[in-house]
């Protein structure tokens, strides 16, 4: 597999792996049938991502994308986190094989789900764009 050193590093030593008890928002995307499930746990403080953890069932790219994406949004405002694109995740990993780009998509979507879960719990309108 043509993974960059960065991907291999984040795959082998994933950052922010695990779950958060009493998290403020959870996003879960993908399905086992396709071989990829990504679950993101957020701890929000003052509209900022105070902590983030992930659990991933999936390939090296999926795990590395989860790890990198959580690193990239940690400490950011919700809006900044929302704007994290899958391309940015892939770039931060020094690229992904074309066939694996959907893994970075999954990370973007999981973050969106988690943020909206938080907003919904707070009784706010979920974001769409």
């Amino acid at each position: 597999m043509d993974y960059s050193a960065k991907v291999m590093d984040h795959f082998t030593n994933p950052r922010n792996m695990g779950s958060i008890e009493n998290s403020d928002g959870i996003g879960e995307v993908g399905n086992a049938k396709c071989g990829d499930i990504m679950k993101i746990f957020l701890k929000i403080e003052a509209d900022r991502i105070a902590d983030v953890k992930f659990q991933t069932f999936g390939c090296g790219a999926a795990i590395a994308s989860s790890s990198m994406a959580t690193e990239l949004i940690k400490g950011k405002t919700l809006e900044e986190a929302w704007r994290l694109s899958n391309k940015a995740v892939a770039e931060a990993l020094d690229g992904l094989p074309p066939i694996k780009m959907h893994c970075s998509m999954l990370a973007e979507e999981a973050i969106h789900e988690a943020i909206n879960d938080y907003l919904k719990k707070k009784g706010l309108e979920p974001w769409t764009e």
Binding site: M8, F11, K33, C34, K39, C59, G60, A62, I99
Partner: protein, 394 residues
């Protein structure tokens, strides 16, 4: 085995290293004896002799006659030729082909292509062990059935089909019988007479012969069209300058592999059972394929809650080379059609691991794999959102 000493190669169903004796057979035909077998002069004759000598060895390895063996560029070409060749040559007789749902893609995609050309294909189901039922086969035969293509042994789960019974049914119904024996050579004794096989595919690199070279056995009198048109090589049925070095190597390799079946299977079987027993100690682990009717070198298990590609990457980091049926490791992003056909649920298919043993593997290798695997599986399970609490350590 010359992979760096610490590495353990357990992917012998994917490919094998060329054996020393095979390399020695092959190399002189690269530079010194490089003549074209079609040439009239001495240098050409040397090459022609090498090709005919190899043909003899292939024939005797499967109980065929020399003039029933045709060299090809590998298992894929052999499968394509057998199936398309029979289909096109016999379409005035009928348009129906029977195969199984666990064939190699070289068979399945060829059949699918033929469907686009107006042929009708029945894909027989298999039981949970990957076995085709002879009853199902009988029921599937129609008046216009022209070909049955059922593999001898499966490349993913190692299940060995009841080929002799299938051959008998084919013969009784006067339908041509093709078998993909690519994985079986060197593991299952083959006799095309006894097994009523009309066409048989094999591929050199699966039994320590060279890559890019295979053969198709075609029973005398079989009505089949040519796939590669051109020169008059292979008695005008398969054109192209013969790959003399590879053919010579294939001959040597099949001779060695088939003469050593008994001895080699004994060793492999012991390793296989040791490996399976150890693997099944890992919780939520299942054996795929048939418990006994399987290749002596094939182990295939699924670990629940985890995905195979990441498993392979972690194994690779420890110098262990294996393969998986996960979609994430296939360029088609489809999970193993074989495991799926055996009824393994999709989410579990992704957690499959194939360890295919070879001549170079030792008990020590098996034990090392068994020592390393549990912690890798656990690491991935701890990472997975699917893992129930009781299977987590973190």
């Amino acid at each position: 085995m010359t992979v760096e000493n610490t590495a353990i190669y357990m992917d012998n169903s994917a490919t094998t290293p060329v054996r020393k004796e095979v390399a020695e057979e092959l190399i002189p035909y690269l530079i010194e004896n490089f003549g074209n077998p079609s040439s009239i002069y001495d240098l050409g004759k040397t090459s022609k002799d090498a090709v005919e000598n190899a043909r003899k060895k292939v024939a005797s390895a499967i109980g065929a006659e020399e003039n029933e063996i045709f060299f090809t560029s590998g298992g894929t070409e052999s499968d394509n030729w057998a199936i398309k060749g029979i289909a096109f040559a016999n379409r005035n007789k009928g348009k129906h082909i029977i195969t199984s749902s666990i064939e190699h893609h070289a068979v399945l995609h060829t059949c699918e292509w033929l469907e686009g050309q107006g042929f009708e294909v029945t894909y027989l189901p298999v039981d949970k062990y990957g076995m085709v039922s002879p009853e199902d086969l009988k029921n599937a035969i129609q008046d216009d059935t022209i070909l049955i293509s059922i593999m001898l042994a499966n490349n993913e789960i190692g299940t060995i089909q009841p080929v002799e019974e299938i051959g008998k049914i084919a013969r009784e119904n006067r339908v041509y019988f093709h078998t993909d024996a690519v994985q079986a050579i060197g593991h299952v004794p083959i006799d095309v007479q006894k097994m009523n096989i009309d066409l048989l595919s094999l591929s050199g690199h699966k039994f320590q012969g060279p890559k890019g070279c295979g053969a198709l056995y075609i029973r005398k009198g079989t009505k089949i069209e040519t796939l590669l048109h051109g020169g008059a090589q292979e008695r005008k049925r398969r054109a192209g300058t013969e790959n003399v070095p590879a053919i010579a190597g294939l001959g040597k390799a099949i001779e060695l592999a088939t003469s050593e079946i008994e001895e080699s299977n004994k060793t492999l079987l012991a390793l296989r059972e040791r490996l399976i027993k150890g693997l099944l100690k890992i919780p939520k682990t299942h054996l795929n394929g048939h418990p006994t009717q399987r290749l002596a070198n094939n182990v295939n298990v699924t670990f629940e809650y985890i995905e195979g590609e990441s498993l392979l990457l972690l194994l690779n980091a420890k110098g262990i080379y294996a393969s998986t049926g996960s979609a994430c490791n296939s360029s088609s992003l489809e999970p193993s059609h074989v495991l799926t056909a055996c009824g393994v649920p999709h989410e579990i298919v992704h957690g499959s691991l194939r360890l295919s043993l070879g001549k170079m593997n030792t008990e020590k290798d098996v034990d090392r794999v068994l020592a390393i695997l549990p912690e890798i599986v656990q690491k991935l399970r701890n990472m997975s959102p699917l893992t129930p609490k009781e299977n987590r350590t973190l």
